[in-house]
Amino acid sequence: MKKKNEYLSLASAAVVALALSLSTGIAKADEDFGGLPEGEGQELTFYACQGCHSLMTVTNQRFSRRVWDEVLDWMVDEQGMAELPDEDREVILDYLSTHLGIEG
């Protein structure tokens, strides 16, 4: 469950979105690192993924740490991704489950 202040910021953001979506098209923010949210591991995650696919493949998803772990396994086992060094893999999993995660 998210903290109360996060709910409130989302709530006000939702109202802002309504107003904005009625006005002109909005430039996409965060062009850096393919739109990955800022945070520790952002750069490492970007370079681990961008060789094969758009970072939209990542930012469009919200998974638990368990599922992100499975996705990385799948990338290596079935999609031809090079095995990540253990340390990097931990940083990337922490990053993904923190910034593109769900509770549970």
């Binding site: 696919h53 998974f63 638990s64």
Partner: protein
């Protein structure tokens, strides 16, 4: 930016719908979970959707208003008309918003795009051929001219829908493109029946399945790794509506849709309809190419709870898609005059089956009104439906649409059974309408 924020709102509703109601709109359900919009909460939600909500007493708790839940159309991508929704740019995956799907025959520039690998440069026709091998008496290698000249042509309107269309509705969110409702199209395809080709090759008694290959490339660049290779059981592939197509709406098939030749196996997950087709391998067992095994294009044999870890052996390959419909007119958010009828219309389809009844509701499903429903021009085409609805008062309404197939199976109002990869969400489409 706006997309990110809209997603925030949807997430909020996913996590705890009633709490989201309380936080965003200040509304709190009463013990019967209806009739809860009061005071500031009602005013806030009314302000957000742009007017009063006449049937607010029927509006279920935790239901994100359709006016707020639709996908963004702020994005643009070259090669397709403005207003389509880019779900991914590498691989290219593009969704069509419902209001751009109003044509009976979906034009190529509005047709959704679903790719697993690269979007290849169009091959030179002289370099293209189609190989038929495996469990056949005589292997075939057909040039483009052979294909076009040696077999009878058929032209059919055929629905093609991504197996994951509607995935965005599932919670927890499954892997894959977060399609809302627009990964569906109904073009007019011209080609030859796959059954005619397979008869020419002569199926052995051992032939049970097909495996399809194409000239697009895996995103990793590995030339030995197909981006995707799916197929279908022989019965489906011998159906006279399963065709090897070389024209889309009377023109050469565009690059994004499989130039020069693609499979069209209507009513089944779109991935059975391999684009850029170069080979049909007839198998003596269920095909096992990428996209056939593991969890992809598979659903649990038995219902599972949301978020369940399902062992691979409990998953089975998806067959036909299921009954579904969309509202293609008007566009969500439209203003209509209060007290006067306005037209609502769209399409309905049901995989291998067909739609027998179409209904619409203006009061959150409390009452339903029959819509006029046309028969399909040919089997496997989607069907046109239309209705006139009259909002009695000014304010915010939602149009809900529900199709029922010939076996009495109706679309559910809420998202049906969760599955690990988010297939077969056929819940009702709904749009927001403001009566003024």
């Amino acid at each position: 930016m706006s997309k990110k924020i809209e997603r925030g709102l949807c997430e909020l509703y996913h996590e705890d719908p009633e709490r989201a109601d309380a936080v965003v709109f200040g509304r709190v359900p009463e013990s019967n979970r209806r009739g809860f919009l009061k005071g500031a909460g009602l005013a806030a939600m009314g302000a957000a959707v742009g007017g009063a909500i006449p049937f607010s007493a029927n509006m279920p708790a935790g239901l994100i208003p359709a006016a707020l839940a639709q996908g963004s159309t702020d994005f643009r991508l070259e090669g397709k008309m403005d207003g389509l929704i880019v779900r991914n740019d590498r691989p290219v995956n593009i969704e069509t918003p419902a209001h751009l799907l109003d044509d009976d025959i979906t034009p190529a520039d509005k047709f959704f795009v679903r790719n697993n690998g690269t979007l290849p440069d169009p091959i030179n026709l002289a370099d293209w051929s189609l190989k038929i091998d495996g469990e056949v008496e005589n292997e075939l290698e057909l040039s483009y001219d052979d294909l076009v000249n040696d077999f009878e042509h058929v032209t059919l309107r055929l629905q093609l829908e991504c197996g994951g269309n509607g995935r965005a509705g599932f919670n927890p969110p499954p892997r894959g493109n977060q399609w809302m409702i627009g990964a569906i199209g109904n073009a007019e395809w011209t080609g030859v029946r796959l059954s005619d080709i397979l008869r020419r090759a002569g199926l052995k008694a051992s032939a049970v399945y097909t495996g399809h290959y194409s000239y697009d490339e895996h995103l990793s660049g590995d030339p030995d790794r197909p981006a995707i290779s799916r197929g279908g059981p022989i019965d489906k592939m011998m159906d006279p509506h399963t065709i090897v197509a070389f024209k889309m709406n009377g023109e050469d098939i565009p690059a994004a849709h499989g130039y020069p030749v693609r499979m069209v196996a209507p009513g089944w997950p779109g991935s059975v309809s391999q684009k850029w087709l170069t080979r049909v391998w007839v198998r003596d067992k269920e095909h096992d190419g990428p996209g056939m095994t593991g969890m992809s294009y598979r659903v649990p044999r038995h219902p599972v709870e949301p978020g369940a870890e399902v062992p691979a052996e409990d998953m089975m390959v998806m067959g036909s898609m299921i009954v579904k419909s969309l509202i293609s007119f008007p566009e969500t958010g439209v203003e209509v005059p209060a007290g006067r009828p306005f037209e609502v219309r769209g399409h309905a389809w049901a995989g291998d089956d067909w739609v027998e009844t179409m209904e619409v509701s203006l009061d959150y499903g409390a009452t339903w009104q029959r819509a006029e429903l046309s028969p399909p021009p040919n089997k496997y085409s989607w069907q046109r439906w239309r209705a006139n609805l009259t909002p009695r008062n000014v304010g915010y309404y939602e149009v809900w649409a529900r199709a029922t197939d010939q076996n009495g199976r109706a679309q559910p109002m809420v998202v049906p059974g969760w599955n690990p990869r988010g297939y077969l969400n056929n819940s009702c489409h709904r749009i927001a309408v403001m009566a003024v």
